[in-house]
């Protein structure tokens, strides 16, 4: 079917139920709406999720040791974080939020540089141009517009670059999400919007966030194809993002994907999730664990041997201990740097203030 043959409804509307490729019991969908990723991709997704979770639990442990000021865990959301990142091509750009440290690390940014923000040393510790990752965004939904502008510029310059904007279910209520979806659709910008619907915006459940049948419907009114997928199924997230990236790269414009998942931990280590959700609900989602599910599939299909599993675990453990070691070092920060990155050149007033601070520090020393 070509685009023109499709009716608006069949082209744009998401499915009623989330699409899946690998079910919680490890069984594969028998009439898949999206292509199952190749075996080696599935194995890479699995590795990535194991490493990602180990990174996440390590970061959470670092908050307990006082090494991180705060950490918003993405535990339970590995299929979204890793499935999406592995579907990007090297030239593509990621526009992440505070929740997406795991995705930023999976994209190739040094984990210590990623954690610079959460350690409280500087607002962004990595060079965005190094791995094509924008600074992690704290104000909700504002990153979606940056993704659109970036992608639009890429097309204007004749470059084959797609932007992936990550956002949460709560962020879909912000005005910027709507402006971004509209701009992207009108400009046919090569952007993929991935909504990680993890059920809550801090304490507010989805039912108080939207009256739409699903968040995937948010794309429909703006004129873009929208998909609803199982966000705990790395295979389907990967397939959906890959298809959306291909559409964008082919000049067919943006896609919105809602991935239904769950945040296993609290909003951040400072939050108490027991105040707003039942333990039984968490238990239910633990049954749908994205890592266990893909492991079942891979094992059942003879793709994951005990030896490979050990090697994957060992590597994740090594990465975590290397991170722990590097984070267990007291950092030395240079207060003079405060004044250096406000403008291209410090103004006269900032030079004065730098001297003022230097004098204060000398006096105190």
């Amino acid at each position: 079917m070509t685009t023109t043959e499709r009716t608006a409804a069949s082209y744009f509307l998401p499915s009623d139920e989330p699409l899946g490729l690998v079910f919680p019991d490890g069984a594969a969908a028998d009439a898949p709406a999206l292509p199952m990723p190749a075996d080696d991709v599935l194995l890479r997704l699995y590795r990535g999720m194991v490493s990602g979770r180990r990174f996440d639990t390590q970061a959470t442990a670092l908050t307990k040791q006082g090494r991180l000021a705060v950490y918003p865990s993405a535990r339970g959301q590995e299929a979204c974080e890793i499935g999406a990142i592995l579907a990007l091509r090297p030239q593509d750009w990621l526009f992440p939020t505070y929740r997406d440290s795991m995705a930023v690390v999976a994209r190739g940014v040094d984990p210590v540089e990623v954690l610079t923000l959460l350690r409280g040393d500087w607002h962004c510790g990595y060079d965005p141009y190094g791995a094509n990752v924008a600074p992690q965004c704290t104000p909700l939904a504002t990153n979606t517009l940056h993704a659109v502008g970036f992608a639009h510029a890429a097309r204007a310059k004749g470059e084959d670059t797609v932007s992936l904007a990550l956002l949460g279910d709560g962020a879909t209520s912000e005005g910027d999400t709507h402006e971004a979806l509209n701009f992207a659709a009108v400009w046919k910008a090569p952007v993929v919007f991935l909504v990680q619907n993890n059920g809550y915006a801090i304490s507010v459940p989805l039912s108080k966030q939207t009256a739409a049948p699903s968040l995937a419907y948010k794309g429909v009114g703006y004129g873009m194809p929208s998909m609803l997928v199982d966000g705990n199924d790395a295979a389907v997230v990967h397939a959906a993002v890959e298809q959306a990236v291909a559409r964008a790269a082919a000049g067919e414009g943006p896609t919105l994907i809602e991935a239904v998942t769950y945040r296993i931990e609290s909003h951040t280590n400072a939050d108490d999730a027991t105040r707003y959700r039942e333990r039984a609900e968490v238990e239910e989602w633990l049954e749908r664990d994205p890592i266990a599910r893909l492991k079942r599939y891979l094992t059942d299909h003879g793709l994951l041997t005990e030896q490979v599993q050990q090697e994957i675990d060992a590597r994740a453990e090594d990465e975590a201990s290397a991170l722990r070691e590097r984070m267990n070092v007291d950092t030395v920060l240079d207060p003079a740097e405060l004044f250096e990155h406000v403008y291209a050149e410090p103004t006269a007033a900032l030079r004065d203030q730098a001297s003022e601070l230097a004098a204060e520090l000398e006096e105190r020393a």
Partner: protein, 339 residues
Amino acid sequence: MTATLDTTVSLAGALNRALGDALAEDERVLVFGEDVGTLGGVFRVTDGLASRFGDSRVFDSPLAESGIVGTAIGMAMNGLRPVVEMQFDAFAYPAFEQITSHLAKLRNRTKGRVELPVVIRVPYGGGIGGVEHHCDSSEVYYTHTAGLRVVTPATPGDAYSLLREAIDCPDPVIFLEPKRRYWEKGSIDPALSSPGLDRAVVRREGSDVTLISYGGALDTTLEAAEAAEEEGYHAEVIDLRSLAPFDLATVAASVQRTGRAVVVHEASRFCGYGAEVAAQLSETCFHYLEAPVLRVGGFDIPYPAPNLERHHLPDVDRILDAIDRLQWDDSAPLRDGEA
């Protein structure tokens, strides 16, 4: 440069020429916003640019200010130099979050690795009989935000050079256009070197008092200076041009000579830009001052309806009055809310 020497144009025309020259010289420059394409902007500042440069360089965006600024940020991250138009001062407020949380801060957050050469053009201020939400003087919302440069031309010559410099500048610039000056004619000379993006200039020399102003209020201030001459006061008039950074050196040098200063702007006085100027002058020129630095500004009220705006905007009499009060006499009773 495509502009010729000593051309007489309106301030809006000078801006148009600056945009045209910048678009012609640097293909990374692009202009977008509401109605800036076919219509040429509601004040015609972008007139003819879309047909000259094509709709991939000059184009109408969807109607959403946060969207305009947010996408401009993404474009600048990817190597372009967007110049965007906010249709009127108060309609830039939906973009406030993008401006303050991202445009101003991305350089700092990334230790200088992300540079955002974005210009946001904002027609601002009153004096044209505009209806509600079309007359705000919004400068201090931006000057209070570190990381932004804020400039405002008061003459066609400055409109041209400041806009060219703003577009070339690696920092984000809030470019405030005093809309009541759009039709003011003057000469532009692109070949003459400009005093610089962050420099104030002395528009009129004098020895008795320094009048400090900018944007829409500058002309009223110059008129007041002429009138003061008749009363025997030689007033120096400084046009700030750049509100952030503030050119303290130029202003303080003048005030140290004259010993008296009045800051004139049309924005409300409370926490207005004049408060900053007065504070800096009292910190740096205290021993030179013969009297407190006075502020002449609009009242602390929402911008009034068009038929009342003349009562709000500072006029020549109010400025002359302030000059009179500067001839400091401790026995004179202070007026309520003044000085």
